[in-house]
Symmetry: C2
């Protein structure tokens, strides 16, 4: 990390321990006194020069040399190798093993049985010149983990992305999927949503294919000529109902350790209700070409050289899935550097190590950089660095099937984590481009500071500057652009849904979390979860110089060092309160829009708009008349958000005053830090979200019908979206209570810091 | 036409001779006294029952039996048959012949010469079961009429739709087309724009192909399974630079009659500068697949199973075009019913009869209905109907190559038309669906009235009601929807650009014009200008029951009857003034937006947005810095539009007062009608538009760079778009003068009608 050109000093009110400007300097490092900032920036500067692209490349080459999915020999081998590396870096490291349900395929059949016969090959061919693509004996076949077993035959119906709105469109065409096998394209939701919604509508089987429009030649040249998915490439992946809970389907809420209470297979609610298989576009094309029925709506049409039909009609398909449902071991590597003065405050950093096949991009581009980051911190310790807090680095196993390694570890150590965790910082696959950060909004300001201090390796701008310019380009209004142009401003971070290992920390335990990674240019998404996501691909099309790997190590390492060393934990509640106000406003607007659109739609149904505009030769029916949503009393949420704003102001003033009068005493800092450490925990409601108690964070959750996509204030938002307005009104009070509890904690921290 | 259910009486201010409500009734027919309205509605009712779908079917079968392009034996045969039909209907009819330049192909070659060899077949195969598709000996080969001859070889560059913005995008990728052959897809502009813009940028040849995304299997099943363009289907068509002038390229402004002054080929500015050929997507696919260079931007990618590259690179193409440039005869059929009391006021109605091949959809679906409409009017005359004004029906030849028949006739009879023409009503291809009307805004209210009186044959709503409901469905804002829901409101009509035979009447001579046709559901656009646009196609996928053909005859016939019989010509200047105000507002907003976007873009260039967000591995350059547009004095236009509004109000009051005090005398009506007849003529500026004097209407013109798409107040709008702000300011005064002249005429009419 290189310190870059001075920018204009901040003109906004000081709202943290130190006023925040850019870039970081000794009198401008939030959470640090001038003296401790000088020491910190010195160590960060030393750290910055350590991560070496070539070492990251060597890590990837070694870890991706053979397929390393859960239960494979090389998965265990990699864990042992990572463990040895940590030990060589001087860390206190060990492996924690869990025994988890992980089905692997025994039989897979997809065949068109009418009007002609075609058998899908379900096989990705080796590519000449790509050495690991031919390791067929060790590759997991293409399949969707946690698909139910089944042997079904039925007419084929095309359901677009297979999300609820797609079934509403089918209904308007008079099409039911009852007894049918649906074919959905990847995209538009997390894949596990597709069989879930299909089963809710009565389908008996589900195929998921990669349409070249979204994922193949329409995106660019295909492998090996280019980086995109070739004709026979298949996206593997889990279809467990992760929005219910992550981790081992048999041990929700508890670690999958010997003696743990385990559900039976029949009791495990995250296993699909119907069989599912993923297929390539090469295998999908004959199926889609054989279909009849109405032509699919324009938005539904992919890039295959066929007319997309909805079915059902001539095309009938036979689908068979049978798995080995045995338990497999997973191996998390856990490494620690003990804190000097606050060993019971943990800063946690993780990235998974298991892949679906060779997994060079996902996850090894991140894992290889993480290892290099850990080497750097180990070097600093050897040079005399003593982090104030304990640092925990983790290489998770079993992320691909369902965040198994991270979830089982978090569940096993839940009490200790609730007491000690300051933050969890996650990464996963890493590519070239822009830094993407999502996470807890108490850390938004902290993230902006770090972004100003890390250099983009190809443009030599700070990653903050490059991100700012990207957002200016994409801004929708002149006002948005004006806001973005403030050089001392903050770039908002996104909220987290799911899709990587932060979920158990953030949404189950209430630990402030971040997810970081570079991307946005050519990415390994083009060969995602296929045998082609390997070292050959990554060193031809990915971050071939591993300079974004180095940038990731610099970014993650700097974040860890600052959190581990700060005198005062650098959470910012003004950002939080501002964000919460935004969410509450969105909810109110959402309900108003639902009401307006229901009234308008009902009126259009009554005046005959839908029948008048439908082609009588291929008619679509009008949508259903819906009850007009009632008004809901949002005032508890508004009041609680106001309360949070007042508390945040009070805390900001106390922090600024503390700064003005010299650094607070160690005793004061200890009391305040102990409170701050619990601040994200206050967003946890003990009962959890309706119908999915494992998810207990009242601000952020993956959507029940989006899977990865976040829903903020999910209990209220999803109730409105699902038109359960009674539940929405009831959940308003639950969320308001949580916000009030947070406001009270922030107040206490302000008082402890010497505020009024 | 069937009178349909009573709607609420009008509550808007009476602003015409009679207050306008819906549907038409004896005390509510604009331009008619109660007494004459009773007579009129009685005749209209008689007319309504005459057009017979089966007769329209027989007309189409006969006229489409063989290819009938300009110069073919069957083209002449059809003209003679149409003439005989008119005579049998009791009309006074004759044929007018013109001799025009019409090139036909002698040699056509498209071949890929590197990196591999492929020869395009340039041939549409016959389809079993479709009898006329095999008439190869009489079919015109696929080509673009008025392409320059040429024999060129060069690298291939993909230019998307080939409009100016596409070349700006190419420039950002560092790609020039100098010396290259461009391949553009059909769509996004009129086809003639593509070779024009390509030549402006230095290309040496141009291929235009039908991408299946816009025109083929991505739209639906292809012929003969469905109605859309098959793999080898080709869109023929003219590429003359029609935005300069329509008609015979050798006789701009004068009729192509014996002895007319003719340009040499070299002097004819509407012939392309480079050779052009249209090709099928079957022929295009190997060319596109062979291309290299940057991957095309997402919006540019079609539906072929290839990755779209921009070139230039490996792919080199040889293109050869050579035509027979001889003169061919065209045959317009002109038929008249002489007016009883105002024989020197002409209501003109037309539709072309020539096709590119068998032309069932284009133009015979319209021509066949027009003939049936003429039969109906002839029947009425036999029953004793005496239209007040003269009715002229025309079957134009040579529309496809460049509106040849209509333009040469209009130019030949220009002085008589300027003196006598009340209105020109055009139709062309007709399909199932909604009535589309574009034209002069003085006729907007008239159009709404007729639409309320014609029934949609499949939904049994009035065509006005069905159109209203469609617009409600598509409305963007609640306010727009609210406006549309007024049952006594008016649905705006669109302005006309070009693309059919109204152009010489409206834009060269200043005759109030309308273009009418049904469509919006499955249409013969799917086989547009191919050998498959034939009777077999139309009777399987088109308006197979010919009920929309009947509706077109009812619509056109009713319009003609009302215009021919009205006591007072039913022009409405309030609509006109309202529309003009809208256009002026758009111009002011356009300049403001140009200014804002230039300032913003220049700022983003300066702050490095484009370089920061471009992928360093496939960089695009920033757009060029542009001068910020100056402010322009729009007050002459604002004042003139206000003046027009005042005159329109005055005229509306005079008309209402005239109605209140009993019908005006015949002498008053004659004076007022004589003025009104000239009202559209006032929009003609003798000098014409900058650089294209043939186009002289200051409100409506086809865009210089859109071809068919209209530009309203074109002299100012296009100057702004082309960033010639000096010319824009100068043209403001030209347009203002025309508007003031119109306002003066409307004032005179108000005074003549007895107003203040």
């Amino acid at each position: 990390m290189r310190r870059i050109g001075l920018l204009a000093a901040s003109s906004v009110a000081a709202i943290a321990f130190h006023p925040i400007a850019s870039p970081s300097s000794t009198d401008n490092l939030p959470g640090f006194s001038a003296q401790s900032a000088r020491i910190e920036l010195d160590w960060e500067s030393k750290f910055d020069s350590i991560p070496a692209p070539d070492t990251i490349r060597q890590n990837m080459r070694r870890l991706s040399a053979r397929p390393h999915h859960v239960g494979s020999p090389y998965d265990h081998d990699n864990a042992e190798w990572i463990l040895a590396r940590y030990k060589s870096f001087g860390w206190d490291a060990h492996i924690e093993q869990f025994d988890v349900l992980f089905p692997t395929p025994l039989e897979r059949v997809v065949e068109l049985v009418a009007p002609t016969h075609f058998v899908a090959k379900l096989q990705e061919p080796a590519v000449p010149g790509d050495p690991t693509s031919s390791q067929r004996d060790e590759q997991l076949p293409s399949y969707n983990a946690y698909s139910a077993d089944g042997d079904v035959t039925g007419p084929l119906v095309y359901v677009n992305y297979g999300v609820p709105a797609d079934y509403e469109e089918l209904e308007r065409h008079g099409i039911s999927v009852k007894g049918a096998i649906v074919i959905a394209r990847y995209g538009g939701s997390w894949r596990g949503i597709k069989p879930k919604v299909a089963a809710e509508h009565g389908a008996v089987g589900c195929l998921i294919y990669s349409d070249p429009r979204d994922d193949g030649y329409a995106q660019g040249d295909v492998f090996p000529r280019g980086p995109f998915r070739p004709r026979d490439g298949v996206q593997r992946g889990s279809v467990a109902d992760m929005p219910l809970y992550s981790g081992d389907p048999l041990t929700p809420g508890v670690g999958a350790v010997p003696g743990a209470k385990r559900l039976t297979l029949a009791e495990a609610k995250t296993i699909t209700k119907i069989p599912v298989l993923p297929i390539s576009y090469g295998d999908a094309e004959p199926l889609l070409a054989a279909m009849t029925g109405p032509v699919a709506p324009p938005d539904w049409r992919g890039a295959l050289g066929v007319t997309y039909h909805l079915g059902p009609g001539a095309a009938r398909v036979h689908l068979k899935v049978k798995s080995d449902w045995s338990t497999k071991p997973i191996y998390d590597v856990i490494a620690m550097l003990k804190g000097s003065t606050a060993p019971d405050q943990w800063v946690i950093r993780g990235n998974h190590h298991d892949g679906w096949v060779n997994g060079a991009g996902d996850p090894l581009s991140g894992q290889s950089a993480l290892l290099e980051e850990a080497r750097g911190l180990g070097e600093l310790v050897k040079q005399g660095w003593h982090p104030r807090r304990t640092i925990v680095y983790a290489a998770w196993d079993g992320e691909e099937p369902g965040l198994l390694g991270s979830t089982e570890w978090a569940e096993t150590h839940a009490d200790e984590l609730r007491a000690k965790a300051v933050a969890y910082i996650n990464s996963d696959g890493n590519d070239r481009g822009f830094l993407n950060v999502g996470g807890s909004h108490t850390l938004q300001r902290f993230v902006n500071d770090v972004e100003r201090d890390v250099q983009d390796p190809e443009t030599h701008l700070s990653v903050w500057k490059r991100s700012q310019l990207l957002r200016i380009e994409r801004a929708r209004t002149p006002n948005d652009r004006q806001d973005l142009r403030r050089e001392n401003g903050e770039l908002p971070i996104g909220a987290l849904g799911s899709g990587s290992d932060y979920t158990p920390f953030l949404q189950h335990l209430g630990i402030a979390s971040l997810n970081i990674g570079y991307g946005g240019e050519v990415s390994s998404a083009g060969v995602y979860h296929s045998i082609y996501d390997d070292f050959y691909w990554y060193t031809h099309f990915g971050d071939t110089a591993f300079v974004y790997g180095r940038a990731l190590a610099q970014t993650g390492g700097t974040m860890v060092m600052r959190l581990a060393d700060a005198d005062l934990l650098p959470y910012d509640f003004t950002d939080l309160a501002h964000t919460v106000h935004g969410y509450v406003g969105e909810l109110e607007k959402l309900l108003d829009m639902e009401r307006d659109s229901t009234v308008e739609r009902n009126r259009e149904i009554a005046e005959g708009v839908f029948t008048a505009t439908s082609d009588p030769w291929s008619p679509t029916s009008a949508p259903r008349v819906e009850a007009v949503p009632p008004h809901i009393d949002f005032s508890p949420l508004d009041n609680a958000a106001d309360s949070l704003t007042r508390s945040a102001d009070r805390y900001a003033k106390a922090a600024a005053a503390g700064h003005a009068h010299g650094a607070p005493s160690d005793a004061v800092l200890a009391r305040v830090n102990a409170l701050l450490l619990q601040s994200e925990r206050r967003f946890i409601d003990a009962k959890g979200l309706p119908r999915r108690p494992w998810y207990a964070h009242e601000l952020y959750a993956p959507g029940f019908y989006t899977g990865y996509g976040v829903k903020t204030i999910p209990a209220v938002r999803e109730a409105i979206e699902q038109r359960d307005f009674g539940e929405a009104a009831q959940q308003v009070t639950v969320v308001a209570a949580v916000l009030n509890s947070e406001a009270a904690l922030v107040d206490s921290a302000a008082v402890a810091l010497g505020g009024q």
